[in-house]
């Protein structure tokens, strides 16, 4: 067990430290990189709990897609983060108040759950019920019992994709696109033009 405990404290420490650095880093790109670190160590925590599927999901979806998307947004949109930071002292009291209330609520809830709430009635859910690893357990029902939802969710994503294309794609007439068929079909006859140049005059175009 001591190895697991060391791993837990290390990962938990890195998660919290990276989380703090996300909000305190001056450079927004660094913030996103710390966010990725936080995701990675949180994934490690999931592995410790035996929930390897959630760990993979966190890395594939949050690191692979969401965080990289953030990085693109931060680097491509010229957001002036120094300006966003202005008025920090002005908003500190109200922000601190909201944060404080949230912290208190979480402490209360955690304390209640730990002493007489759900935790005492329901033991920790088993990550591998019946000896089946949870990835396999999800795989067994995803395409059988839940195939209807799975396919419908796929259609929802399809609609989102069509919608994004319909609303943003514009076919500009002047854009030159590569058409390999056209390039291969070119012959010297179509690609070349012989022009008689009179002395002292240029070519018209």
């Amino acid at each position: 067990m001591p190895l697991q405990a060391i791993a837990f404290y290390l990962l938990a420490f890195v998660t919290i430290a990276a989380g703090l650095l996300v909000v305190s880093a001056r450079n927004p790109v660094h913030s996103v990189l710390f966010l990725i670190t936080a995701f990675f160590s949180a994934a490690g925590l999931f592995v410790l709990l035996g929930a390897e599927f959630l760990a993979m999901l966190l890395i594939v979806v949050y690191v692979g897609a969401v965080a990289v998307l953030f990085l693109f947004v931060v680097m491509m949109l010229d957001v002036d983060f120094a300006e966003l930071r202005q008025g920090f002292a002005q908003y500190l009291p109200i922000g601190g108040l909201v944060g404080g209330i949230l912290t208190l609520e979480m402490v209360f809830v955690a304390a209640t759950v730990a002493t007489n709430g759900a935790a005492s009635k329901n033991p920790l859910p088993n990550a591998s019920p019946g000896g089946v690893p949870n990835t396999e357990a999800i795989g067994r029902v995803l395409y059988t019992d839940y195939v209807f939802f799975f396919q419908l969710a796929g259609l929802v994503l399809l609609v989102a994709m069509i919608g994004a294309i319909v609303l943003t794609l514009r076919h500009k007439p002047g854009v030159k696109r590569q058409d390999i068929g056209k390039q291969v079909a070119r012959t010297p006859k179509t690609g070349m033009e012989l022009v008689q140049i009179k002395p002292g005059e240029g070519i018209s175009e």
């Binding site: 019992d145 209807f148 419908l152 399809l158 989102a160 919608g163 319909v166």
Partner: protein
């Protein structure tokens, strides 16, 4: 039940999904929309309606999907109304040089989502169906992206729709937390035993009803409706006002009739308040409108109020009245917007009441049809609007609940107030001096308008003979999830 038997129950959805994919690929590779493309979309919707009628009844995938008489009734109406929307919208967009093949694909996918919600037997299928239909509808509202008002409509619809989805999910999670299941039949069992989790469950139900009220645009969650109707392309508005409304009312019927049939006393008061607010908001706010699309948005809010009154009556009688009401209303509103999209003056759409001045001399056919729709919306016998209201009020008065009886009386008062703006439109069309010549209407829109007007009177009298038993069988299917 075998795996393939499950799939035979969801055949209408499979037909639509495959059709949407094929149309998408065909459109992406050909780039142009021809008559064949539109025809294929219409044919797939009609085929889905036919499979819904002919297919077996039962519960698929462990009860998350119900193929029963109610689902069939709603699906036929939704698919056919979507097919009309494909034809009308395609022509309208083509006239404006803005034709996109994605329009038909999105309508087909929206119809698929609506069908899923109509046969939902589980909170998850309800939510996924809602998202599928809503996402497609947001894009349809913003279809004319170079038009500022259309973009505004899409954005407003999207933001408020996302909020309502949040409410819906929050309510669903509370219900799941307090009953331990997302299945409607399990929820009904847990709710029937009541006990200590009664208040929490009620809380979840209230949130769920609020989310659904957003989708059906019932007051006090109606704010988005006038702006979206004004900005979105006219044929799309005709679509919005018809099929998604029935789908959303079916969600009400599924949630309240399948999951909470025993808690009538608890949800009835919420529905009665929402219904009366809708009727009065629709009636009084409509008085100030000059734009016909906004006016019909308020009219649709009022009509949703009457349908909710039917649901509030509860039980088989109440749901029966709602189902009849919605289908009759769908025909009226489709016809009205078909007429509206047919009317242009010098290439500019005629959208205000003043634009309609003297229409009876310019286009007597369309003016007559629009008069019929106005009189029908007013609830004048023998038009279809009278019969739909008759069913709802009969159901509300027949419950023996004093609150509901007073609500029915107040609803009647509301419809008298709303009569003013319908009559103002008729007066403008018949007695005011014409403001100029009207362009030749497009034949498809005119045909749909005329057909709907004939349905409104006198076909409705014949149609009710088979619509009534069909709706009755559909209403009897609830509560057996």
């Amino acid at each position: 039940m075998t795996f393939s038997a499950n799939f035979s129950l969801v055949l209408p959805e499979i037909v639509l999904a495959i059709a949407a994919l094929v149309l998408l690929v065909a459109g992406a590779f050909r780039g142009k929309v021809g008559a064949i493309f539109t025809l294929a979309a219409v044919a797939s919707l009609v085929a889905a309606a036919a499979t819904a009628v002919l297919g077996p009844h039962g519960h698929a995938f462990g009860g998350v999907y119900a193929a029963d008489a109610a689902a069939t009734y709603a699906k036929v109406a939704i698919y056919l109304s979507s097919a009309i929307a494909v034809v009308l919208g395609d022509r309208w967009l083509a006239q404006r040089g803005d034709q996109k093949f994605e329009y038909a694909v999105l309508v087909v996918l929206a119809a698929l989502g609506m069908g899923v919600t109509a046969s939902a037997g589980d909170l998850i299928s309800l939510y996924v169906g809602v998202e599928l239909q809503s996402l497609a509808l947001y894009v349809l509202a913003a279809m004319r992206r170079d038009d500022a008002k259309s973009s505004e409509a899409g954005l407003k619809y999207f933001v408020l729709g996302a909020l309502s989805s949040g409410l819906l999910l929050y309510g669903s999670s509370l219900i799941y937390g307090f009953t331990g299941s997302t299945h409607f039949s399990q929820i009904a069992l847990a709710a029937a035993h009541g006990g200590s989790h009664g208040v929490g469950l009620l809380f979840g139900l209230v949130f769920l009803i609020c989310g659904l009220a957003f989708k059906v645009s019932a007051a006090p969650f109606h704010m988005w409706t006038p702006d979206v109707y004004e900005g979105a392309p006219t044929p799309v508005v005709g679509f919005f006002a018809a099929a998604p409304k029935l789908a959303a009312m079916m969600m009400f019927a599924r949630v309240l009739g399948d999951a909470f049939p025993g808690s009538v006393d608890q949800w009835r008061q919420i529905l009665v308040i929402a219904a009366l607010l809708s009727v009065f908001v629709g009636a009084f706010a409509g008085l100030a409108q000059t734009n016909l699309k906004r006016l019909w948005a308020y009219s649709s809010i009022a009509n949703v109020g009457y349908a909710l009154l039917g649901v509030a009556a509860g039980g088989e009688v109440g749901l029966h009245s709602m189902l009849v009401f919605m289908v009759l209303y769908m025909v009226d509103v489709t016809g009205f917007f078909a007429c509206l999209q047919a009317l242009n003056r010098d290439g500019r759409p005629m959208e205000t009441i003043e634009d309609m001045a003297g229409l009876i001399k310019e286009r007597p056919g369309i003016a007559l049809a629009m008069t019929a729709f106005s009189l029908s919306a007013l609830g004048l016998p023998p038009f279809s609007g009278f019969w739909s209201k008759y069913y709802v009020f009969k159901a509300a008065l027949g419950t023996g609940d004093v609150m509901l009886q007073w609500a029915a009386v107040l609803g009647l008062v509301g419809s008298v107030v709303a009569a003013f703006y319908y009559l103002r439109l008729i007066k403008s069309m018949w007695f005011d001096a014409p403001a100029g010549s009207v362009d030749a209407p497009s034949p498809s829109a005119r045909a749909v308008g005329y057909a709907a007007a004939f349905f409104s009177f006198p076909i409705v009298l014949v149609a009710l003979v088979w619509l009534d038993p069909a709706a009755k069988a559909a209403a009897a299917a609830f509560g057996h999830a």
